[in-house]
């Protein structure tokens, strides 16, 4: 079965999207953009193919008893991947301890690190049993926050301290991310199946998906890092065009697109064909972009996905003027020390970010009906809320489209270009 691939190499995340021959979405994959762009693209692509195979499993299982178990199987698979990475991380950390930690601490280090990893594994097993909560898609974030939490409990200020443990984690996580690990469908689907008890209907469906030949006929790349993709120039499209086309494909009535990504914000106007008629993007200064929220989340020791819901609890939004990413932490601390509530500050921060994008929208020609909000920040409920309010206040009633897959808009656009090329 032939397919095409779109890759959006973003500043913070890399997304891949696969379309089948009819131009229908077959799979999506995401990873954090890491130092090795090729690898990031490869990982995102692997993820997308895993996702595509799961779609096939789903199609096969549709209507059978097994249909209800596919969700669990997916979660089992994701967990197997995570545990695989965790085991690798543990090995690296232990080796690093032997290589570089002070002799007298080695034993204690081993005990502490093994314990942390054991606890994380146990937590993961537990999570699998219970209905899943939302959390970051990425190993670094998912494991990182658990690691910090446990390290803070068991760290010994006079021996293997919290600082030392975190240092060890920092040192090894980047290697885990930058080594090609065996994370493909075939690598873990067997164990995942076992975990859900090898339900017979599902085994067949999986069998079908495993052997199914998925052959990409064309690939188009876009995004901030597109120039670094190992593709010829014809296979590269500007992210503006891709976002425009992607948003158009998702919501054909779209005339205005706002994309807030990790370090840039784009306001795009498209016509009824999805052709870009105007655009504006921020320059040079990454204030008020997604990374800003990343810093804030770090500062508060929260996951990115937790920011929005927390901000939504605010009753009184604090007015914030500076959205310099680097000063985010300082701003937050200053406000907290003035006695403002966390959720109110957060609400203010979200509003401030959205206000910055409002000016880009205005520069690009305003907000027409329909309006589509894309990029990673569209996953954030508080940002969406703020956009909704501000658009309403300044442009009147507008249909606001948000797709749960909004982060893939650029990749979708790229894949559509690939589809045209393959046609």
């Amino acid at each position: 079965m032939s397919c095409v691939v779109g890759i959006d190499l973003g500043s913070t995340t890399t997304k891949a999207l696969i379309l089948d021959e009819r131009g229908e979405v077959l799979g999506r994959g995401i990873t954090n953009s890491r130092s090795n762009y090729d690898l990031a693209a490869a990982v995102a692509k692997t993820e997308a193919f895993i996702n595509a195979r799961f779609s096939l499993v789903e199609q096969q299982a549709a209507g059978t008893d097994a249909a209800g178990v596919v969700g669990r199987l997916r979660r089992a698979f994701v967990m197997e991947q995570l545990l695989h990475q965790l085991r690798h991380l543990e090995q690296l950390m232990l080796a690093e301890v032997d290589a570089s930690a002070p002799r007298e601490l080695t034993a204690a280090f081993h005990v502490a690190l093994t314990e942390i990893c054991r606890q994380i594994t146990a937590e993961e097993e537990q999570r699998f049993k219970q209905p899943p909560m939302l959390r970051s898609d990425f190993f670094r974030d998912a494991v990182g926050s658990a690691f910090m939490r446990i390290a803070e409990q068991i760290g010994d200020p006079n021996g293997v301290s919290f600082d030392r443990l975190v240092g060890m984690y920092d040192k090894c996580i980047i290697r885990v991310e930058n080594e090609p690990l065996a994370l493909d469908f075939r690598d873990h689907i067997g164990t995942a199946l076992r975990r859900v008890g090898n339900p017979p209907g599902l085994v067949d469906a999986v069998e079908y998906a495993v052997v199914k030949d998925l052959d990409p006929r064309a690939t188009v790349g876009t995004g901030y890092g597109r120039a670094r993709l190992p593709f010829p120039k014809e296979q590269i499209r500007s992210e503006i065009l891709c976002h425009g086309l992607g948003a158009h494909a998702m919501f054909p009535g779209t005339r205005t697109v706002l994309d807030i990504g990790g370090q840039d914000t784009k306001a795009i106007q498209v016509d009824s064909e999805g052709i870009v008629t105007n655009f504006q993007m921020n320059d040079r200064c990454a204030a008020g972009c997604g990374r800003y929220l990343g810093y804030i989340a770090d500062e508060m020791n929260l996951g990115l996905h937790e920011l929005g819901p927390l901000a939504e609890q605010s009753k009184r939004c604090v007015k914030i003027n500076s959205t310099c990413t680097v000063f985010a932490g300082a701003e937050l601390r200053e406000r907290l020390s003035l006695g403002e509530k966390r959720e109110d500050i957060l609400a203010g921060l979200h509003r401030a970010i959205v206000i910055r994008s409002m000016s880009l929208l205005a520069r690009s020609g305003g907000v027409s009906d329909e309006f589509t909000f894309t990029g990673g920040v569209a996953k954030n409920a508080a940002a969406v809320h703020a956009i909704r309010d501000l658009v309403q206040e300044n442009y009147g009633q507008r249909t606001l489209n948000i797709s749960p897959e909004s982060i893939y808009t650029g990749a979708l656009g790229a894949a559509l270009f690939a589809h045209r090329m393959a046609a």
């Binding site: 065009l241 870009v276 320059d283």
Partner: protein, 424 residues
Amino acid sequence: MATVQKDRSMLLQKEMIANHFARLEQAPETGEKVVYTFVPGNLTELIRSFGALPMLPEINALQSGMRKQSGDYIAEAERAGHSEDVCTYVKCDIGMMRSGNIGPGGTKLPKPDLLLLSYTGCYTFMKWFELLREEYQCPTVMFHVPYQGDGVLEPEHRRYMLRQLREQVIPALEKVTGRRYDEDRLREHLVRSARAEDDLVAVLQAGKLRPSPIDGYFGTVYYVGPIFSAFRGTEEGVEYYRALREEVDERAALGLGPVTPDGPLNDQKYRLVVEGPPNWTSFRDFWKMFSDERAVVVASTYTKVGGTYDFGFRHDPADPLGTLADYCSGCYTNLNLPSRIDMLVRYIHEYQADGFLINSVKSCNSFSAGQLMILREVEKRTGIPGAFIESDLVDPRYFSAANIKNRLESYFQMIDARRLGKTA
């Protein structure tokens, strides 16, 4: 053949500039008087009619930028207490002065005998010469050119300028040079100005042809150099523009495009109109971003800062002082925003452009404050979307090649997509 011809005007320009700077360097010995003044609203013919040599600090600054010396000069000025936020031409000039006043061509620049502050279309000019006055302690004469706030030159304003010319500027020049004002000499200069202006306009309007034989921005900043600086009203100036016009005519006849950093651009894919000054520190890289995409600039507003000749103005020997007032008042940055928008719209139509670009420079409030409004209005009136990029004149810190390239690329791809959309 064409390349040899091209060389002729370039050689002429090189030679006249070299001669001028040599004369400037020797001025302290020869006793020739040196008058510093600004490009917009420069009174070159008047200065020359007193036998004095004009020098234009802005041109030195932009040349320093092109020769990659400006970064150090700016740092020098900032060390001396100048703010990061203000016009980098000023800082470049002050830095150069503090570093020994060696001009961009390597010759020593003379001190001014007079600062002729033609206060035309830019607030910074006033401060610039106040600053230079502190350094040089030389006479300064203020010539206030009222802004065309309502889009026309009011008769009272013209009278006000004439009075200043007669009662302030001319006496100052007389005093410094020791010569009497000689209206006939001034007239002779003005005759030559008009002749060169005719040729220049013919060159500028060649941008209307397809392919355009000139680049109306990157190439034309070289073309306007002599007339915007010391050579308006001189014999060399007349000769230069005659030669230039011949070359351009010839290229046009052969259906050739301009010579760019990527060689001749005969196959032109996009025709653009540009507003705003160029970036000088990365001038060639900047130009290359256009020629790489086979984009040619057919007209630009920056090339009108030293006079809007293509709309008919010519220096008129019949009314020597009046024509100088008219000239000053009509320089591009002395026009109000609605007039600037009219001009861009007119260029887009008359030169049949596919798009327009605004290069907004951090330095210059006179140009930049309001450019986003210009963008919108021009888009509204022509139905053509514009591109907006940000950089600076001579501050290398503010040229982000990756950003600009990204924008231009997206912009050109957008024009393509629109074209496809239209034909489909």
